[in-house]
């Protein structure tokens, strides 16, 4: 089943690459069908998660289901080893869902050369799914790299005016991080002789000296930090988001950012636990700094996409704070916040895309205000998304942030308690700052008296024809509902992640080792 989920978009990508140019409707239909089929296949993986041993995950650091283990590059011990468990499946479903919604969005905003566009989007999906399903270090690295080229072309060719420079910055920054990642991975191999993640997780760092663990974890840390992004390696994100097309932004925020934090939880923590324990405080400090700095930066932003980009940095700060606590609560918080961020920020970027396509600008100065009065449905969804993003209880964003702060107050044994306590307080303050800037945005843009801003034109100003279309509703509603569902019943995700995370912490991160 793993091969099906991975192979479908790959096949779709190759077919679309050879599609005759000039066709407009057929590639979009084909792309949507493939994305839908992939989502279905991913959903089919849910029941199999129980496994043969009735779902008992504890005791093993990594317990994959739907496993595929084939020799691939046998001369250097690289195998095509795929598998899913509770940690990766939510992210896989999120990726498939966002890709499908992106394909549907092609009917809202038609890209030129749709066959190439859909092909690149599917290639992006292959890379993301491969990363989440990989259980072999080289396979992980290859899939991690796959997303670079499609995203570069998506930004540079279909993006805004400053796209070329933003895309190049994104590509070189990410590649530099990947170079560090490769060094770390091969370093692990040189010390252990194995690329296989299951085997390395079982070992839990036994046989790797502390110095090597520190160095390897440092290298992996840099690689994943660029991708996450972690302050101060985040500067590639705002330009990339600003210049990218809507679908590009959604996939960047909703899928690509998850790969970094997933890599930390899946690879860096289990394989190098001593390195993790040593560097966790640094990770926590940088994460919380990111939360605060991002919130402050957001407060001064006047461009919608940049604002949401910086808010992403802040959200990922919470995720990384959760990871750095090295406890079950913390890692569960991180995974939940990951999924929530994907849903909410995906929705936000779709909405901003809607605003931009109506007003042809993202600058707050030019947009005027009183959007709710002019376009009530769009205004409502925008309010919903902003409120979810600032962490209102009852919506998805709350749980991740609250649990992360709670986990920081009770970090793992061996980590400096007082430091984490201070960081928890600062993070909570950061959450308040987040509320401040989102409310500022809402006050400025959505509520209040109608002021038609300079430099825009709304077709049929004031009439409902400029409001949300049916197709856009199809894109927004699933994200809306899922955000609400996750907020009211987080066990949807936590039920999946709890078992594997408990196994991970118990088998590897418990200090009795």
């Amino acid at each position: 089943m793993s091969l099906v989920v991975l192979g479908l978009p790959l096949l779709g990508c190759l077919v679309l690459a050879l599609w005759p140019p000039g066709a407009d409707l057929s590639p979009r239909i084909f792309g949507t069908v493939i994305a839908a089929a992939t989502l279905l296949a991913a959903l089919f993986m849910l029941p199999g998660l129980r496994g043969d041993d009735g779902g008992a995950d504890t005791g093993r650091a990594l317990n994959p289901r739907h496993e595929v283990d084939l020799p691939w590059l046998s001369v250097i011990d690289v195998r095509l080893h795929l598998g899913v468990d509770g940690i990766s499946l939510p992210l896989i479903l999120l990726t498939a869902l966002l890709t499908l919604l992106g394909m549907v969005h092609n009917w809202v905003e038609r890209p030129d050369r749709p066959a190439l566009f859909c092909s690149l989007v599917l290639l992006l999906e292959v890379g993301a799914l491969g990363t989440f399903m990989a259980l072999d270090l080289v396979l992980f690295f290859a899939a991690f790299e796959v997303v670079l080229i499609p995203m570069y072309f998506l930004i540079s060719r279909w993006g805004g005016p400053g796209a070329a420079a933003a895309a190049l910055k994104f590509a070189v920054y990410t590649l530099a991080g990947s170079a560090a990642l490769l060094i770390g991975l091969v370093f692990i191999y040189a010390s252990t002789g194995s690329f296989d993640l299951v085997e390395l997780s079982e070992r839990g760092g036994a046989g790797i000296s502390t110095a090597v663990q520190l160095a390897a974890f440092g290298a992996l840390f840099v690689g994943f930090a660029v991708k996450s992004p972690l302050w101060p390696l985040h500067t590639w994100l705002p330009p990339a988001h600003t210049e990218a097309p809507t679908v590009g932004s959604v996939l960047l925020a909703g899928v690509q950012l998850k790969m970094g934090t997933y890599g930390l939880v899946r690879i860096a923590l289990p394989v190098l636990p001593e390195g993790a324990r040593a560097l966790a405080p640094i990770l926590a400090v940088l994460a919380v700094t990111g939360i605060v700095v991002a919130a402050l930066a957001c407060y001064t932003q006047n461009e919608l996409k940049r604002l949401i980009a910086y808010s992403s940095v802040g959200h990922m700060g919470f995720v990384l704070l959760g990871v750095s606590t090295l406890t079950t609560v913390g890692i569960n918080a991180a995974l939940l916040a990951n999924v929530a961020h994907g849903l909410i920020t995906g929705l936000l970027f779709f909405l901003v895309g809607a605003v931009k396509s109506r007003f042809h600008t993202g600058e707050l100065d030019e947009l005027g205000s009183g959007l709710w009065a002019r376009l009530p449905r769009l205004g409502f969804v925008l309010v919903f998304a902003c409120v979810a993003s600032l962490g209102l209880p009852g919506l998805a964003g709350f749980w991740g942030e609250a649990m992360a702060v709670y986990a920081a107050l009770h970090p793992a044994v061996g980590l400096p308690g007082p430091l984490f306590g201070v960081l928890a307080v600062v993070a909570a303050a950061g959450a308040v700052l987040t509320a401040v800037y989102f409310l500022r945005l809402l006050r400025r843009l959505v509520v209040g008296p109608v002021v038609v801003g300079a430099g825009h034109r709304v077709q049929g100003a004031g009439s409902r024809t400029a409001d949300i279309w049916v197709t856009e509703r199809v894109v927004h509603v699933p994200l809306l509902l899922l955000t609400l569902a996750l907020g009211l019943y987080p066990a949807v995700v936590l039920g999946l992640t709890e078992g594997p995370v408990a196994g991970l912490v118990e088998a590897v991160l418990a200090p009795s080792r």
């Binding site: 250097i76 690295f141 590649l175 060094i183 040189a190």
Partner: protein, 535 residues
């Protein structure tokens, strides 16, 4: 006095190539011009394929792999001058396949050359002769055979580079190549002479024995000098810094198929020579590992840094080739080191060599396809600036901007090959090649080289991406604003269609690269000497 017995079977690839060469020579005299242009390159390409096939069939087959062996006597083993073992077989297959691809490129060029400016017979003859030299180098176990093979590889290429008739650049490039090459041959022979004087033998296995014998000849300073001279000669051939100065000028002045040949077969021949010589020579000179490591590090860095400044496509590929030589030498630096993973360093180099040859021949094929027929057009397309210097004609990064709208498949293939050279997906084969090299560096106690390779990948990405992005750029305003002078100088892109032979070649190479990316065992797994860790 006994006459040496010759086993003919291991010589099969060489014999096939020689038969093809004689046939081409005779057919050139008898066939009319029109037929000659197509038949001769086609026959030569088929000959190379046949040689590759025979090497693949012989590899691991029955029968002794050695030939020209001295008779065993006085307790010492029988020493063979030419051995078609695992490594030699793999190298022969790679070399012949690359030569066949280059000959297909030559076919396309000759077909477009309607006035018969380039002599078809001599062109094919020269490329075949050089291939014979390369195959001899791959299988040599004896310094004399090595020298003969290396010279057979180099000397015909002087003529090949000069074949660009009607242009100033050809003979000048040939002269550069000649002078630098002969000098390096002289240096290498000096080194061989000293080694011979010290050890009394020319055979590589015997050399290893004598040099490792404790307290003996290997400890003399003269041994170190001889080794450095020998390595310098070979380093010239692969184009390592600081022996690289000839490469960009020669590649630019030569016809594009010959540039492709230089960057693939000629370089592979140099690597083959290093693989033959290094295990033996580094036994007596532990500094050899350091020398090669330094060469690798400097080549990578300098090659990538200068390539970033290049605007002329062929020159850019030449400098990137110098950087790729650095990656190739990383495996050899490990090979001459002391760790127990040493031999797998050679395996890593062989694997990366196969990947590199595929990608570079593909890239040059795309450049040739883009350039079309302007190679053989007689002269007046050389404009001069006011200082009297001729501005080099040919494809530049600017001239391929927006190629994807006219020739989408060539553009996609070109992007694939460039990204494969950079080492990124979707050209997964390039990625695996880089992983193999970095792994060899780390397991062979040369971790700093591995880190350098990873960093250089980022550097190289900048210019590979620049070209790949230009291919897919949106055209329109950019093209109109170019002045007419600029378009003439920069090389106008010829007509709508790409020659059929080139199109087929590019498609075949791209398909091979893609398939091998998903099934890397096909190419990388075939490389000998690569062993899983701990074996």
């Amino acid at each position: 006095m006994t006459v040496q017995s010759i086993t003919w079977a291991p010589l099969a690839p060489v014999l096939v190539l020689v038969a093809g060469l004689v046939f081409v020579l005779l057919a050139d005299l008898m066939l009319p011009l029109g037929v000659r242009r197509m038949v001769l390159p086609a026959v030569s390409a088929v000959t190379c394929l046949g040689a590759a096939g025979s090497a693949a069939w012989l590899r691991g087959g029955p029968g002794p792999p050695g030939t020209f062996c001295s008779s065993p006597g006085s307790g010492s083993a029988s020493r063979c001058a030419y051995v078609l073992g695992d490594t030699a077989g793999f190298l022969t297959v790679v070399l012949c396949l690359a030569a066949a691809a280059v000959l297909v490129l030559a076919l396309a060029q000759l077909r477009a050359d309607v006035e018969g400016v380039t002599p078809a017979g001599e062109y094919c003859l020269v490329l075949l002769a050089a291939t014979i030299g390369a195959v001899i180098v791959a299988g040599s176990r004896d310094l004399i055979t090595l020298v003969v093979g290396l010279e057979t590889l180099t000397v015909p290429l002087y003529a090949a580079v000069a074949f660009r008739r009607g242009s100033n650049a050809g003979p000048e490039a040939a002269l550069t190549l000649l002078v630098v090459s002969v000098t390096s041959t002289a240096l290498m022979l000096l080194g061989i002479g000293f080694l011979y004087g010290l050890t009394g033998t020319m055979h590589v296995d015997a050399l290893a024995e004598v040099l490792t014998a404790g307290g003996g000849v290997g400890d003399l300073a003269l041994a170190d000098v001889a080794v450095v001279l020998l390595l310098a000669g070979l380093a010239f051939k692969v184009g390592a810094v600081p022996f690289h100065v000839w490469a960009p000028s020669t590649y630019q002045g030569a016809p594009i198929p010959v540039a492709a040949y230089l960057s693939s077969v000629s370089k592979a021949g140099g690597i083959a020579g290093l693989i033959v010589v290094l295990p033996a020579v580094s036994a007596g000179s532990p500094a050899a590992a350091t020398w090669i490591a330094l060469l690798a590090a400097v080549s990578m860095t300098v090659g990538n840094l200068v390539a970033m400044r290049q605007r002329h496509l062929v020159r850019l590929l030449a400098w990137s080739g110098i950087a790729q030589t650095g990656y190739l030498l990383v495996g050899l630096a490990v090979l001459s080191g002391r760790s127990d993973q040493a031999l797998s360093g050679a395996g890593a180099t062989l694997a990366y060599l196969a990947v590199y040859v595929l990608m570079t021949v593909g890239a040059f094929a795309c450049v040739a396809a883009i350039n079309g027929t302007s190679d053989t057009v007689a002269t007046s397309d050389t404009a001069t600036t006011d200082t009297g210097r001729a501005v080099s004609e040919g494809p530049s990064v600017e001239s391929v901007r927006g190629l994807a709208t006219e020739h989408p498949r060539i553009a996609a293939a070109f992007a694939l090959f460039l990204i494969g050279l950079a080492g990124l997906p979707p050209a997964l084969l390039g990625l695996f090649g880089k992983v193999v090299v970095v792994r060899a560096a780390f397991t062979g106690d040369a971790g700093w080289l591995g880190i350098l390779v990873a960093l250089n990948t980022v550097l190289a990405f900048v210019y590979y991406l620049r070209v790949a992005a230009a291919l897919f750029a949106r055209t329109g305003a950019a093209k109109e604003s170019a002045s007419p002078l600029a378009t003439t100088l920069v090389g106008a892109r010829p007509g709508r269609s790409v020659p059929a032979a080139m199109g087929v070649l590019v498609a075949a190479l791209a398909l091979a690269a893609l398939v091998a990316g998903f099934w890397p065992d096909l190419i990388i797994g075939a490389a000998p000497l690569l062993s899983p860790f701990g074996e």
